[in-house]
């Protein structure tokens, strides 16, 4: 950035400033050390612009994955989900009717926990959970019913589907293939994204279904199958968000996302596929979450963008620059973990801080949190409107986002980006030394590291070292809470009564199907599935397609696979 003579002059000038004006101020306030830091070119000594920063949309991608963001997306209301907002409640009929009423043109499906975890609605494990955080799918019939929402509005080859489904992702994919077959849509025209990021499920989100090696084999099956038959289908949406919300620091999440991604790419490589082909086509990156550490979040986004090209080139010999980034909606943000129940309306302000960080990290100013997040399950329309308007104000009134990566060249932000990158490489080295991400997850190491960070954070909150307004500071009796009274546990259009009845209705439907279907066909299909599961080389997706068509239940399929694969075992040692 500067030649040696310049640096020497700066060093000298800094010394004079410290001994002169700064010293006088410190003496006047009677303190030893300034609580404020000042950065200079000395903090970014070996900074090489083209190597470290460059231009948006070209390697090293520090400033952005594309030459520019998609025009007008931040203000249109769909910045967060091209397939429509993440939604689903009660029975599939309830969600189908709501989506049809909303004239939705894409499916972004929230499944309830029994479905995500591989249980039928009448399984004892499912009590109290059916239709709560999303819809219940007990058989292919439910899936068919859900997609009736689009009949006469949009056909499967003209829409996109997003399924927040991990351990059971291939079963959902099989249902989509079976549905397309029924409707006469060739599978190569299907577009969609299963989440399928099983490592972070085991570590943080908790909906894993099978032992880890079998779980990874399922992900391999997805990669291999879509690579061969479904050119427009994503295989995986790699995600750090849940690890972050669970407590991971910025450096940890950066390292864990990379380490997990390496493990997933390796699955395709081991199956004989070319990473320069399958990574750009079938891999996406969701989000690395966030925090209130404003500049750190900007640095995280910039550092993680420029780490992936190095990984692809050095570890996988990649020569295709398009494989050096994954399509991603990741942007700096504060994350829902930052929102507080106390004086919840303040969460709007926190969200806006994230929106500004988003804009300063080479994205649109996306305010990604809703203020009523900690008040119950689901967001109110009012909260969604506030967040959307906040994004619009940042973009249209404050004109944020007009300059891409405006902090590039800032001595502070460049040095912070370098520092974060180095911390992440150091953590990745540890993971390499223990045999890679699968081992780091299997042994519980990654999960324990995250829990420890969460505990450190909590201790800082309790000692007051970390301030949370309205929680551990400024809580006196003269403070007032101006949060509007919101008592809904679900978004406004959701019918609370229907949601309460979902369990009963779903179980009745399930029992009816078990009686009506051809139970011999189900039995043979499940036997075939288990046989295929025992052969590690076999791709299970065609077998799953055949199985779902018999209306085998979700739990029957999961249990058949658990029998062969072994169950997921939650970690209990902290």
């Amino acid at each position: 950035m500067s030649d040696n003579q310049d640096l020497e002059r700066i060093r000298q000038a800094r010394k004079e400033w410290e001994e002169g004006p700064l010293k006088q101020s410190l003496d006047r306030f009677g303190i030893e050390e300034s609580p404020h830091k000042v950065y200079t070119p000395l903090d970014a000594e070996n900074h090489d612009f083209l190597e470290k920063v460059g231009f948006p949309g070209v390697p090293p991608y520090t400033r952005g994955l594309y030459p520019m963001p998609v025009p007008e997306r931040a203000t249109r209301g769909d910045a967060r989900a091209p397939a429509g907002a993440y939604a689903g409640y009660g029975t599939v009929e309830d969600t189908r009717d709501l989506w049809r009423q909303q004239r939705r043109r894409g499916a972004n499906v929230a499944f309830d926990l029994p479905t995500q975890c591989g249980y039928d609605s009448d399984d004892p494990m499912s009590r109290g959970e059916v239709g709560k955080v999303g819809i219940a799918v007990d058989t292919f019939r439910d899936f068919e019913t859900l997609y009736e929402a689009f009949d006469g509005i949009v056909t499967l080859d003209n829409m996109s589907s997003n399924w927040t489904m991990n351990g059971m992702a291939n079963v959902i994919l099989a249902m989509y293939i079976a549905l397309a077959e029924k409707k006469g849509v060739p599978q190569h025209k299907l577009r969609g994204t299963p989440q399928n990021a099983i490592l972070k499920e085991i570590v943080a989100r908790g909906t894993a279904n099978f032992a880890i090696n079998a779980s990874m084999r399922m992900v391999r099956d997805t990669i291999v199958y879509v690579d061969k038959y479904m050119p427009q289908m994503n295989a995986i949406s790699i995600c750090g968000y849940h690890m972050r919300e669970a407590g991971a620091t910025a450096a940890q999440v950066t390292a864990y996302i990379n380490a997990n991604s390496i493990a997933y790419v390796q699955l395709g490589v081991d199956a004989g596929l070319d990473p320069d082909e399958f990574v750009p086509r079938h891999f996406t990156l969701l989000s690395g979450g966030g925090s209130m550490d404003f500049f750190m979040e900007i640095a995280r986004i910039r550092a993680s963008r420029r780490m992936w090209p190095q990984i692809m080139r050095q570890r996988f010999g990649s020569e295709n620059p398009r494989a050096w980034f994954m399509r991603s909606t990741d942007h700096a943000r504060v994350g829902n973990i930052t929102t507080t129940r106390q004086r919840a309306i303040n969460n709007v302000v926190r969200g806006v801080v994230g929106g500004i960080a988003s804009a300063l990290s080479g994205n649109d100013p996306v305010v990604a949190e809703e203020f009523d997040e900690p008040l119950g399950l689901g967001h109110s329309y009012e909260a969604e409107q506030l967040s959307l308007d906040a994004s619009r104000i940042l973009k249209d009134e404050a004109k944020l986002g007009q300059v891409l990566d405006p902090l590039a060249g800032s001595y502070y932000v460049e040095s912070l980006t370098d520092q974060l990158e180095q911390e992440a490489w150091d953590i990745m080295k540890k993971i390499d030394d223990m045999g890679g991400a699968v081992e780091a997850v299997r042994t519980g190491w990654m999960e324990r590291e995250i829990a420890r960070s969460a505990y450190n954070f909590q201790r800082q909150v309790e000692t007051g070292e970390r301030v949370i307004v309205g929680v551990n500071k400024y809580t006196g009796e003269n403070e007032i809470d101006i949060t509007p009274r919101i008592t809904l546990t679900v978004s406004h259009p959701y019918d609370v009564r229907k949601r309460a009845q979902a369990e009963e209705i779903q179980i009745a439907k399930l029992r009816r199907i078990r009686k009506e279907r051809d139970n011999d066909r189900v039995k043979y299909a499940l036997q075939d599935l288990q046989k295929a599961a025992r052969d590690e080389k076999e791709n299970l997706i065609p077998h799953l397609v055949a199985t779902v068509k018999t209306y085998a239940t979700w739990g029957e399929i999961a249990n058949a696979l658990r029998d062969v694969f072994g169950d997921y075992e939650p970690m209990t040692v902290l």
Binding site: S126, E129, V133, G206, L375, G376, A451, Q458, P570
Partner: protein, 135 residues
């Protein structure tokens, strides 16, 4: 106090909910506060929780739920504990739970419900003030 054993707290993650940051932080925190802590891990049914509590002779059962299933799981554990003659065990809960549900849970025998933002020491003090440790 050598003659008195440490208060034993069983922390359980109820139902299929995977949000376990709070319960893990609490486990580490209560351990540092001097309690003996057992963490069950995810995916516990009311039956498993009650069984583990009785098996381990726990003085306190703390359940965490952020999925909305607290209305079924928490009271069910109370019921199972009572059926097994373990009514002396202090049963508490926490998580993202709508405030209007709290009095309902308390009526059903959940002695206290801790909502997001509660400091660990508040929970530790509550336990110390309310527990009746076994012999």
């Amino acid at each position: 106090m050598a003659d008195k054993r440490r208060v034993k707290v069983l922390l359980a993650k109820a139902g299929l909910d995977g949000h376990d940051r709070g319960v893990k932080v609490l486990a580490l925190g209560l351990r540092d506060e001097g309690f003996e802590v057992i963490y069950t891990g995810l995916r516990q049914t009311p039956e498993k929780i009650a069984h583990a509590a009785i098996q381990e002779d726990a003085d306190v059962v703390g359940m965490s739920c952020l999925s909305g299933a607290h209305g079924y799981i928490f009271p069910k554990v109370v019921e199972l504990m009572r059926e097994n003659g373990a009514e002396n065990v202090l049963i508490i809960g926490g998580g993202v739970i709508p405030e209007e549900d709290v009095p309902v849970l308390k009526d059903q025998g959940i002695r206290e419900v801790f909502l997001p933002g509660t400091p660990i020491r508040t929970i530790a003090e509550y336990i110390r003030d309310n527990v009746r440790p076994g012999e």
